[in-house]
């Protein structure tokens, strides 16, 4: 079965929070006739946008989990993943980008390139996702799409080029001029569904000509044919321009920019045309997998539907009918009733129900071909798992997953809540690799870990609403770490003789600091001072000690352990004895190696009206923040700082009250840095107190 995949587009819609991407998706679904009425985010009709399927998302007006949907536009099948805009949910964005072939970068015509756009753009670069841009909200006062284009160039380094110019801006937004076809496009009907082409208004004709010139100039870099046509002054066809632009877009060398206002129903359809003309089909993107049978050799997957199946699970959702597994097929055809293997667990599963998703409604299908995105029912797996045909052992390259930086203790109110909480935590941990949960054996508390305060807040809320688990939360705790700063020797003997078989083991060597790995164990013993069979036990003993530092019981990182001497006893030595000796040795040397505490430092970006710049800087400074710089952008100002996570709790409330609610901020993990001595002492005191109260 050879199928023309030229007409498939797997795209994502990525942007800064509140730049209107959910509204845009809603319009796309409406114009492609997937939905028959438009509901706005935070809409007065109480229905909410179709893509924001979770109750909580509707209430907060933000997109949390990316819902997948597909639609058809002019003979093309377009799979859309709506992605969250808040940094705390970046893992969702990363996962979506992993399975996408192209993306629409949505920007606000007033706000322009904001901090989150920069993060999303970085992620797109990491996964080499070609993109087009859509400048939304041209109806807002202060809208200036050309300023946004210059920001795309200056701030993100995109070779951004306008595909259109607006006909009217702010209150007067009427339509756009298509610079390729050189015609004006208007959007008639109650919901802008009737696209009408007309002559370009005379007052903007000159501007349109000049901008078209710029567009053709930029495109000519990617096509000899077009360059020749320009030089010979012969006719330039639209096909020629699109072919050149498409080539540049696929190489990520050019970013075509569309514009309009999704809310006012302007400019969405031409952008959809742009998706079909300029973004790649699945076979134009090279996807790689790792062959587990051939020493993890990289294998290029082909989009052939006849080849063995390779498919990646990129999202799990708990629906009313059980677990829904979102999957992208990279190779082969996934058919109902066929058998596939989960490469991670080695378990074989039979494909039951196969569906294609449309937000929270679904449509049954018989098969999913290479390049398609769909969902499976009733399959036990985790996010990021690879499914293949039984005859191959390929796994998709694992996704980059950042480590959690914040934790929170949660306590269920009663038994019923306890059961519901366990169920919810199990589900969340499977859905989101940046969300972790475990039980603290000392306090008996259930701890959840994540990427930020809001990240954990949302999960606690979901637990309450979706699972009915009534839980109370403790204070958020920062994931501190310990490390050593200088070399220290050890020579420790573990000896126990209390009747029966004794325990004996001696280890000697040194600890030293290290920056680019968490733990390295090196055996420099010659002549069998410690018999080879006990070396692994020594390593295990040291590793166990790393889990909880002797100083303040935070995890220890950045330590190299070298053993160079030791002693054993023919009868009394054992694995247990050497493990205990290693633990003792670690403890002995650790405090002499000048241990210090490291804390997570967040990159905080605040966007505020210029008049509040001073007070925002003051707020950041009070929080031990180091301000990297400030960027003046007309009336707004962007302040970039590095602030310890421990100081950021409740910052959003304080920022709101200091700026009359006009400033907003984003935050993401940047690095670990040593805490100042005074703070270190404070932390030590707190730890001691906690220990006391736990006892």
């Amino acid at each position: 079965m050879k199928i023309d995949d030229q007409k498939i587009r797997n795209i994502g819609i990525s942007a800064h929070i509140d730049s209107g991407k959910t509204t845009l998706t809603e319009r796309i679904l409406y114009y492609t006739k997937r939905i028959h009425a438009i509901h706005d985010v935070k809409g007065k009709d109480g229905v909410g946008a179709t893509m924001d399927s979770m109750e909580l998302e509707k209430e907060r007006g933000i997109t949390i989990a990316s819902a997948a949907t597909y639609c058809e536009w002019k003979g093309h099948e377009v799979n859309i993943i709506d992605t969250p805009g808040h940094v705390d949910f970046t893992i969702e964005v990363e996962r979506s980008l992993r399975v996408l072939d192209g993306a629409i970068l949505v920007l606000c015509a007033v706000g322009g390139v904001q901090s989150q756009s920069i993060t999303v753009d970085r992620q797109m670069k990491r996964y080499k996702v070609p993109c087009i841009a859509f400048i939304n909200k041209c109806d807002r006062s202060g809208a200036n799409p050309f300023r946004v284009i210059s920001q795309l160039k200056a701030k993100l380094g995109h070779n951004a080029v306008a595909m259109q110019i607006p006909i009217g801006l702010e209150n007067d937004v009427q339509g756009v001029v298509d610079l390729v076809g050189m015609k004006a496009i208007y959007f008639d009907g109650d919901n802008g569904e009737m696209v009408r082409e007309a002559e370009i208004p005379a007052n903007i004709l000159e501007e349109a000509k000049a901008k078209r010139e710029e567009l053709i100039d930029a495109a000519s870099l990617f096509s000899d044919e077009l360059t020749e046509a320009i030089l010979n002054e012969s006719a330039i066809s639209t096909a020629m321009i699109y072919a050149a632009l498409r080539k540049g877009t696929l190489q990520r060398e050019i970013t075509p920019v569309y514009m309009g206002s999704a809310y006012k129903n302007k400019g969405v359809q031409p952008m959809l045309d742009g998706v079909t003309y300029l973004l790649p089909c699945p076979s134009e993107i090279q996807n790689e997998a790792i062959d587990m049978d051939k020493n993890e050799e990289k294998v290029v997957l082909s989009n052939d539907t006849e080849k063995p199946i390779v498919a990646l699970v990129f999202k799990l959702e708990d629906g009313q009918y059980g677990q829904l597994t979102y999957i992208r097929v990279y190779q082969g055809t996934l058919e109902k009733g066929s058998t596939i293997v989960n490469v991670r667990t080695g378990k074989k599963v039979k494909v039951g129900r196969l569906v294609r998703m449309h937000a929270d409604q679904m449509e049954d299908v018989e098969f999913l071909r290479a390049g398609y995105i769909g969902a499976l029912f009733g399959i036990e797996c985790s996010s990021g798992d690879t499914f293949t045909s039984p005859d191959v052992n390929l796994t998709m390259i694992s996704m980059y997953v950042p480590k959690p930086v914040i934790s929170l203790a949660i306590v269920p109110k009663d038994n019923k809540s306890q059961v519901a909480m366990a169920k919810a935590l199990n589900r969340f941990a499977k859905e989101d690799p940046t969300f972790k949960t475990f039980v603290d054996h000392e306090t008996g508390d259930t701890i959840i870990e994540g990427m930020g305060e809001l990240h954990l807040d949302i999960y606690v809320e979901r637990m309450r609403r979706e699972y009915g688990a009534d839980v109370s939360t403790g204070n958020p705790r920062v994931a501190y770490r310990e490390t050593i700063t200088q070399r220290a020797d050890f020579n420790y003997t573990h000896k126990k003789q209390t009747g029966g078989a004794g325990q004996f083991g001696r280890v000697a060597g040194y600890l030293e600091p290290m920056t680019d790995a968490e733990f390295i164990f090196e055996n420099k013993i010659f002549g069998g001072a410690i018999p080879t069979q006990y070396i692994a036990a020594c390593e295990k003993g040291f590793k166990q000690s790393m889990a909880k530092g002797p100083k303040l019981e935070f995890p220890v990182t950045g330590v190299k352990v070298v053993i160079n001497d030791g002693a054993s006893h023919a009868v009394d030595s054992s694995d247990m004895a050497f493990q205990a000796a290693a633990r003792g040795a670690f403890k002995e040397a650790y405090l002499r190696a000048k241990p210090v505490i490291h804390e997570p430092i967040m990159k905080v970006v605040v966007e505020t009206p210029a008049e509040f710049q001073g007070s925002v800087m003051g707020l950041l400074n009070q929080r031990r923040g180091m301000i990297i710089g400030s960027q003046d952008e007309d009336v707004m100002c962007v302040i970039e700082a590095q602030v310890p996570l421990a100081e950021m709790f409740g910052f959003s409330t304080i920022l709101r009250s200091a700026t009359q609610g006009k400033a907003q901020f984003t935050m993401e993990f940047a690095l670990y840095r040593q805490v100042p001595q005074s703070i270190g002492e404070k932390i030590a005191l707190e730890v001691a107190q906690n220990k006391k109260s736990a006892a």
Partner: protein, 256 residues
């Protein structure tokens, strides 16, 4: 001078941050500082309230040279305000990190991040749009910082100032600002190939304000190499005519 790359040898991956290292990097940077070698009076080059300019064609390394000067100040625990009129904060930050890492690497300092964390608080980046920049606006922003004791600069870099478009008036205002807060101000001056320099080596578009400047240096390329020479303020008897620079670090090359 220490030949490059013979700093204390260390085992791979091991931190041994010593006082000696910091002293060495300071010493090296001072020793290889092109401006000191051109005969400018002291380490700060500019007097309080003074103006300095780096002239060059596009892409030769004006910003890099000033970043190197700024790093020199930061290592001596002097605060530097970097005002960019064309780049984003993150890009300016990257300039500093790259040049600092290059310098540290050349001198064989293995643990650069640790140093970087130490000196970074001595730098503050501000960016403005060219058309939105003015002396009163800069003063307003600086007052925000100084009043709250967040940052008080000793040296200010203004990168991307349009000398051919701005009149003398604004520079005079900036000079007053420099005097008021006892700061030295460094500017980048973008010169053009089509502009023939005057007898003193200065471009015509700069002449109307040249008298406000205490130090003027020029960067030029010959093939792949970058040279620096003093046009104003350097001591002619102490200095060679021009000096060859390492384009990565903007410090004097080893083989001179």
């Amino acid at each position: 001078m220490f030949p490059i790359g013979v700093a204390l040898k260390r085992e791979k991956n091991v931190i041994h941050l010593t006082y000696k290292d910091i002293m060495m990097i300071k010493k090296e940077m001072l020793y290889r500082n092109p401006l000191i070698n051109l005969g400018y009076a002291n380490e700060d080059i500019l007097p309080a309230g003074g103006f300095g300019a780096v002239l060059a064609y596009a892409g030769v390394g004006k910003t890099a040279l000033l970043v190197q000067l700024a790093l020199n100040m930061m290592l001596r625990e002097h605060s530097v305000l970097h005002v960019s009129l064309h780049d984003a904060v993150s890009k300016v930050d990257l300039w500093y990190q790259e040049i600092f890492h290059d310098i540290a690497e050349k001198f064989g300092i293995p643990e650069v991040q640790e140093y970087w964390d130490k000196i970074q608080p001595y730098r503050f980046i501000m960016t403005f749009k060219v058309e939105g920049f003015s002396a009163p606006k800069l003063e307003e922003r600086m007052t925000d910082l100084m009043e709250q004791n967040i940052f008080k600069p000793i040296m200010v870099i203004i990168d991307g100032y349009k000398f051919d478009e701005a009149g003398r008036g604004q520079l005079v205002q900036l000079k007053e600002l420099a005097k008021k807060y006892s700061m030295g101000l460094w500017f980048t001056v973008h010169t053009h190939r089509h502009e023939t320099p005057q007898e003193n080596g200065l471009p015509l578009s700069f002449l109307h304000v040249a008298d406000l400047f205490d130090a003027i240096v020029q960067l030029a390329t010959k093939g792949d190499e970058v040279y620096i020479k003093s046009l104003k303020g350097g001591s002619a008897d102490r200095s060679p005519k021009d000096l060859l620079l390492d384009p990565a670090t903007m410090l004097i090359k080893d083989n001179q």
